[in-house]
């Protein structure tokens, strides 16, 4: 099956240094910006709209449409915030993009600024990615030096600055309004919408937030034209997608695909070398940990938003997590609930308390203390805690915990029933037996205290 390379077509090898400005320019880099500077800003937005590129951060909102929401002539400055927080378990594509083709993102940011009338972009990179930050900072030095970013972009007289802003460890800062709160120097608390950020975002000014990969598509769209862009993908998912495949596969990694012609099965079997150790497949979470899990027989679908949705899940942020036949789904769900409980920002009671309940209930079942009633309760709690759409919570984090929970119970209830009947998850029992055997001295008296010398 053909690999469809566009964003990563000229990307250096994974461990090689990031692509230089010279190399980027030699392969058509900054041609899109050059063209955009000669266009009316609205015409750039129109092109992005017609290209039909949808947000790659998870929600899949059409980028051109979002840009068109920016109000005109408010007298306020306008900002672009690039979401490079990438904290969704199973996702690592934005990191690859920033560390291998940093100029592609910078060009995309400058072009988006031009389209929406912004004079500054902030790239919010998660704190755990200093290598990505270094690649971007180095590229920005080159770009400023050559007048591609700064006071007078390509001699057009138009000014545009791009700043890299480092996060400090919090999943919720990937939620777009949490990101804004964090960028303003606060805790990463999501904000009630409306007002939408396009109208009232950073410092109460109109702000567009887009994912790294979304913005990286902009230079390609303008440089090659709408038709060329739409020649890959389908009406529903235009352009390529970067997908990370991880978990129980032989060769975890990233691949750029034509979503219309690549199935989830091919992602696993062709691109990732198949399920590891010759084992059978049990389950796949296709779009990052927040989307419903799919059973092994539901993965013969192309990786488009529409097809994955029809199969019962979401293509989301393009992080395919693979689980083999030995996986205990109770253990996997417990792990995810620890994650969501830990990452809940705590503003909304259903989320703060609810994710805690989910974690507690799965843990009870995991450790052999659960009953059939706890399985029912788990299902019921999941039904009551989400609901950002209905205004019950400020953001979608609680819903992100609900989707795995409901789908794990739907497709893998047997694992839960078995854990209740057998005195816990096999993972729990193996740990308990090992602990009984090994000395626990190291874990009791001898730990150094934080701060002790």
């Amino acid at each position: 099956m053909p690999v469809s390379k566009r964003l990563m077509e000229h990307a250096p090898a994974i461990d090689a240094p990031p692509q230089s400005l010279a190399d980027y320019k030699a392969t058509g880099g900054y041609k899109g910006l050059e063209k955009a500077l000669k266009m009316e800003p609205d015409a750039i937005t129109q092109m992005v709209l017609e290209a039909g590129v949808r947000g790659r951060g998870g929600a899949g909102f059409p980028a051109g449409r979002k840009w068109s929401f920016v109000p005109k002539n408010t007298g306020k400055p306008i900002y672009l915030a690039c979401n490079a927080d990438e904290s969704e378990p199973g996702c690592f594509k934005d990191r690859q993009l920033m560390e291998r083709v940093p100029h592609l993102l910078i060009e995309g940011c400058v072009m988006a600024c031009r389209a929406i009338g912004a004079q500054a972009a902030f790239i919010y990179v998660r704190g755990e990615y200093p290598q990505s930050i270094a690649a971007l900072e180095a590229a920005l030095i080159e770009a400023r030096d050559k007048g591609l970013v700064g006071e007078n972009v390509m001699g057009s007289g138009w000014a545009c600055e791009v700043w890299v802003h480092q996060g400090a460890g919090a999943y919720i800062c990937g939620e777009e309004t949490g990101l804004l709160s964090s960028l303003e120097g606060g805790r990463g608390y999501p904000r009630i919408k409306p007002p939408f950020p396009a109208v009232e975002g950073l410092w109460s000014s109109p702000t567009i937030i887009n994912n790294v990969e979304t913005l990286a598509n902009v230079p390609v769209i303008v440089r090659d034209g709408v038709e060329a862009f739409r020649s890959v993908g389908d009406d529903d998912t235009a352009g390529t997608r970067l997908v990370g495949i991880s978990g129980h596969v032989e060769n975890p990694g990233d691949v750029e695909i034509n979503p219309a012609t690549t199935t989830i099965r091919e992602l696993i079997e062709v691109h990732a070398g198949g399920v590891w150790k010759g084992r059978k497949l049990k389950a796949v979470i296709p779009g990052g940990s927040s989307v419903p899990v799919l059973p092994a027989d539901a993965i013969d679908v192309p990786f488009t938003y529409g097809a994955v949705k029809e199969a019962g899940s979401l293509a989301g942020a393009g992080g395919v997590i693979v689980m083999d036949e030995t996986t205990c789904m109770v253990d996997a769900l417990m792990n995810l609930m620890q994650f969501y409980h830990h990452e809940s920002c705590g503003q909304c009671t259903p989320c703060r308390e609810g994710t805690g309940w989910l974690e507690k209930l799965v843990t009870r079942i995991w450790s052999g203390e659960g009953s059939e009633r706890d399985i029912e309760l788990l299902d019921r709690v999941a039904d009551t805690i989400g609901g950002a759409q209905q205004g019950k919570t400020i953001c979608f984090l609680a819903d992100s915990a609900v989707m795995p929970t409901k789908s794990f119970l739907k497709h893998f209830r047997d694992d839960f029933v078995k854990a209740v009947a057998d005195g816990g998850s096999p993972v729990f029992k193996a740990r308990r037996d090992r602990h009984a055997k090994t000395s626990t001295a190291a874990k009791t008296g001898t730990a150094a205290k934080t701060g002790a010398k």
Binding site: P77, E86, S87, E88, P89, G90, C91, F92, R95, R126, G127, E128, P130, Q131, E161, W163, H165, Q166, G167, A168, G169, A170, Y171, S182, L183, E184, G185, G186, R187, G188, W203, G244, S246, G247, H248, P252, D254, S289, G319, I321, M323, T327, D331, A332, N335, L336, Q338, F339, H342, E343, R431, A442, K443, T446, A447, A448, K449, T450, G451, A452
Partner: protein, 176 residues
Amino acid sequence: MSAPATRTPPTAEEIAAADGRATFDDLRPHLDTLVARYPARGAALLPVLWHVQRSRGWITPNSVAETAAYLEIPKAHVEGVITFYTMFQDAPAGREVVMVCKTLTCRLRGAQDVIDALEDHYGIHMGDVTADGKFKIEAAECLGLCDMAPCMLVVDKARYGDLTPESAVKSLEERS
């Protein structure tokens, strides 16, 4: 699923040692360039805290007061931000901070064994500082390195992937 870290408040000597590594006036020139990027002074809080932490090792009580005064924001706000983000250290954090991923992909590929091995080798719980003061080792949520699972990173410096219990211990032992 490790036991919680044991914590004692920093001693006066530890605080003095950290503050002694750089005066706030030493930091000011760089901080001024950070503040200049934002339309509001307070927005520089995260970058300022990063610079203070890198310079002093951890964010001491004086650092909190100095940062608040410098950015013209309440001290309570600075405290709130430090405790909200996992990567800000408000107590001595060893010479290097190690984050070991515990989330799903890493767990599927053996993260728990890696964590157990590090706890046993250093005789600590996740979240503690090793007895020799070299590392603070903590269990972390997904590091965005799932292609390298199981993995860990040494904050600001290095990342290690495809870990085994042995290679995890060896990787840290080789950092002097």
